[in-house]
């Protein structure tokens, strides 16, 4: 179609996206798709790289004090905001202060932010946090500009052009980007689709050039038209059991369920094999911390599951309800498979679909559920993002999981600055969770991006982002 008509210098792309960004303000945007879009508009002091490490972005370089509580950043000199103003240390301070006051994750340990000189900013922490650098991907915005929600201004390779709710969000090439080979495409249009099926139809009819799609969807596409990229989704799909709910307070019951659930069958059936079995809440993409050995700790074993159930006193099984957010086809399908697998050990599970807000309020906030299947990702690439919700009393511990040993290991890992130690502690924490079968960890669902053959340069990240700047 005419939209994709390409002259090499002013090539455009239409990227289909299924959920609307809930806010264009980088401190408020929380949906995965919202972050995916804003990744191209905003940059932090540092930026995630392909391999999961952090490279300098708005900052040119940085130093960390030995005790890990003071970070000092040198601001790059040729960085300009989209409105043409130069980025100053004042802007950086303003941005970080805004993050603190907005209670952005990880910033609760920041004591203060000081402007050392025009180009240097110093951040003081209340205590050390080995993960802190990951939080500094948070956006740098112009000082005292308070129209971010309507017309966001950042420093990224693309600048915001327009947003029409439920229609599209358009980005335009930022010609002043500090990296000369920043963006190649002239315009990126994120087309906001009403649902997966609509996205699939648009891909099939060609009105969308690229999108991140379901496994079930990709099999329906014409392979000769699209390049297909498979990567980790960087979220762990898990069957979460309410550890306070009657049979699930018994570790044996949880283990029995873990033995009954066959991850490979789920991956094969629901995802056409496109997924990685996991045994911990941490994504495999976080290679350093991820404990690979736990993936098959509970290999499918019906007999063992049955005998565990018997030991727990549920020889004849029991019944419970799995609550699933209905907008995720993957989870609904997985739930169906899980139900049939649990039937093998005599457990009757029913499925209850709820819409997302109901899930958030009933399951996540009020912890009023028995079991649920969802995937968790993290906005920052750090183990705490994945493990934090198992800490006793944590506000997001909707699993009602509590284990003192885990709490102390987690605590230690967080403040240990020695990388080797830290890795070991985190792995220990994962082992505890696995042993307790706190949840049934299923898989890191592969995230599949399809893109018309005329485009190239797709880059995958260990985070859920779309790097439009790399596309040619």
């Amino acid at each position: 179609s005419q939209n994709t008509a390409s002259k090499s210098n002013n090539k455009v792309i239409i990227y289909g996206i299924q959920t609307e960004p809930n806010s264009l303000n980088p401190y408020k945007a929380s949906t995965a798709d919202g972050r995916k879009i804003l990744f191209n508009v905003f940059e932090g002091l540092v930026k995630v790289d392909k391999d999961g490490s952090f490279k300098n972005a708005v900052s040119e370089s940085h130093t960390v004090s030995d005790d890990g509580t003071t970070y000092s950043f040198n601001i790059r000199k040729n960085v300009k905001f989209h409105d043409g103003k130069k980025v100053t240390a004042e802007d950086v301070k303003y941005s970080l202060d805004t993050a603190i006051s907005n209670k952005v994750k990880g910033f609760d340990i920041v004591k203060n932010v000081n402007v050392k000189d025009e180009n240097v900013v110093e951040i003081n922490l209340k205590r050390a946090d080995a993960n802190f650098i990951a939080y500094l991907t948070t956006a740098i915005v112009p000082k005292d500009y308070n129209n971010q929600a309507k017309k966001p201004i950042g420093t990224g390779p693309y600048k915001f052009k327009s947003f029409t709710p439920q229609e599209s969000l358009v980005l335009e090439k930022n010609n002043d980007y500090w990296q000369s080979d920043g963006a190649k495409l002239q315009k990126v249009t994120f087309k906001l689709e009403s649902d997966t099926n609509a996205l699939l139809l648009d891909l099939q009819s060609g009105s969308v050039d690229a999108a991140s799609v379901d496994n079930s969807t990709v099999s329906q596409l014409d392979k000769s038209q699209f390049n297909i990229y498979e990567e980790h989704s960087n979220a762990v799909q898990q069957l979460n059991l309410n550890n306070k709910f009657k049979p699930f307070d018994n570790v044996k019951v949880r283990q029995a369920i873990s033995y009954a659930v066959d991850k490979n069958e789920i991956i094969k059936t629901v995802n056409s094999g496109k997924g990685t079995a996991v045994g911990t809440p941490i994504i495999p993409g976080l290679k350093k911390y991820y404990d690979d050995s736990l993936a098959y700790k509970y290999k499918k074993d019906v007999n063992k599951a049955k005998s565990l159930l018997k030991e727990a006193g549920y020889k004849n099984g029991f019944s419970f309800t799995i609550t699933v957010p209905s907008n995720y086809k993957v989870h609904v399908d997985t739930a169906q498979v899980v139900v049939s697998q649990l039937k093998n050990i005599g457990i009757k599970a029913a499925i209850k679909q709820v819409d997302w807000p109901t899930w958030l309020s009933d399951v996540y906030t009020n912890k009023n559920y028995e079991a649920t299947i969802v995937s968790f990702d993290s906005s920052v690439l750090a183990p705490n993002g994945f493990l934090g919700r198992y800490v006793t009393g944590a506000s997001n511990n909707f699993l009602n999981y509590s284990n003192e040993k885990f709490d102390s290991v987690y605590q230690k890992a967080t403040i240990d600055l020695d990388e080797k130690n830290r890795v070991k502690l985190y792995k220990d924490a994962q082992k505890i969770l696995a042993e307790d079968a706190a949840s049934v960890y299923i898989q890191d669902i592969s995230n599949i991006t399809v893109m018309k053959k005329q485009y190239s340069g797709f880059t995958s990240y260990p985070m859920y982002v779309f790097d439009a700047a790399a596309i040619k």
């Binding site: 809930n22 408020k28 929380s30 087309k191 009403s194 609509a198 139809l201 109901t358 996540y364």
Partner: protein
């Protein structure tokens, strides 16, 4: 005049009941817009801050009161999800849905009435029976499925339009209409079938009445009896049916907007419900109810024109 006052009073009470229903609905559904906005990673403190900012800490009833006050001041409140005046969000979409619905109604009238007359005239011929069967089939296909089949057939196979290639009416009105034609037909088809069925049986019923014999006794031909005597009377029941269909057309367009990716108020309604965006939903519901009531009033007036026995005075 009395009619007008009565209609306005009915309208107001109906709208009031509708808005109360909507309010009641919201007071019982689970879900909190603030935690929706902030997602799973938000800390309770952060949610509390946002709730405060959005005014969600006030009891729902006072939110309703605010909304009513806002409604009378003309801007219908502030959308929680989009953080802009509801008026601005709806302004761009209302025409889309209205035009879509209007197209549906026009298509229904243009297609169903000739077919209905034809079927009634040829009720015993093969062609008539064939049209009859088609009508029955059309009545039995789920709406969304029909929409998808249209996309596949007219969009992908015949390339009459680009699926997903919605064009805003502000950009190019003709292309907009061209795009909307297919969802409009898809919404219209089951209703066409209904109207055809009604018109046919209504014509056949009228044909049995005595005044038809009177008309023949004056020396009218078959056609002149049909067109100058029977048709008008048969249309009375069809207009009533049309009036009842209106509300269904809206429901149909909600689904079809979803299938075709049309940014109308149907899609907005669904996404606002999912976002628990009370002011938007409340306003949309009132809009829809308003339009439905207004169209029913128009139907009343039309009825009065063709059926002198119905008096609106």
């Amino acid at each position: 005049m009395k009619y007008l006052i009565r209609k306005i009073l009915t309208l107001i009470t109906t709208l009031f009941v509708v808005s109360l229903l909507c309010f009641g609905a919201f007071s019982v559904v689970p879900g909190d817009p603030a935690s929706l906005i902030l997602g799973t990673e938000a800390s309770p403190e952060r949610i509390a801050v946002l709730r405060e900012q959005l005014g969600l800490n006030k009891p729902l009833f006072s939110q309703y009161k605010d909304w009513v006050v806002n409604l009378f001041s003309g801007n219908c409140g502030q959308s929680i999800k989009y953080n802009m005046p509801v008026k601005n969000i709806i302004r761009g979409r209302l025409p889309v849905t209205l035009i879509l619905s209007l197209m549906v109604i026009i298509i229904i009238i243009l297609v169903a009435i000739p077919i209905g007359v034809y079927v009634a005239k040829k009720k015993d011929s093969l062609a008539g029976k064939f049209v009859n069967a088609i009508t029955m089939i059309n009545l039995s296909v789920p709406n969304f499925f029909l929409g998808i089949m249209f996309i596949w057939f007219f969009g992908m196979l015949l390339k009459f339009f680009t699926p997903g290639g919605y064009i805003s009416y502000a950009d190019n009105f003709l292309n907009f209409l061209k795009f909307m034609l297919f969802p409009a037909i898809a919404i219209a088809i089951p209703h066409i079938a209904t109207v055809v069925k009604f018109l046919k049986s209504s014509i056949l019923n009228e044909m049995k009445k005595e005044y038809v014999r009177t008309a023949y006794s004056k020396g009218n031909t078959k056609n002149s009896v049909l067109y100058s005597h029977v048709l008008k009377n048969s249309l009375i029941s069809v207009v009533t049916v049309l009036g009842m269909i209106i509300a269904e057309i809206f429901s149909g367009s909600i689904i079809m907007e979803q299938v075709y990716g049309i940014p109308g108020i149907g899609r907005l309604l669904i996404s606002s419900i999912t976002a628990r965006d009370f002011p938007v939903v409340e306003t949309l519901v009132i809009y829809i109810a308003f339009v439905v009531v207004i169209i029913n009033t128009i139907v009343d007036i039309v009825l009065q024109f063709i059926n002198p026995q119905v008096s609106i005075k």
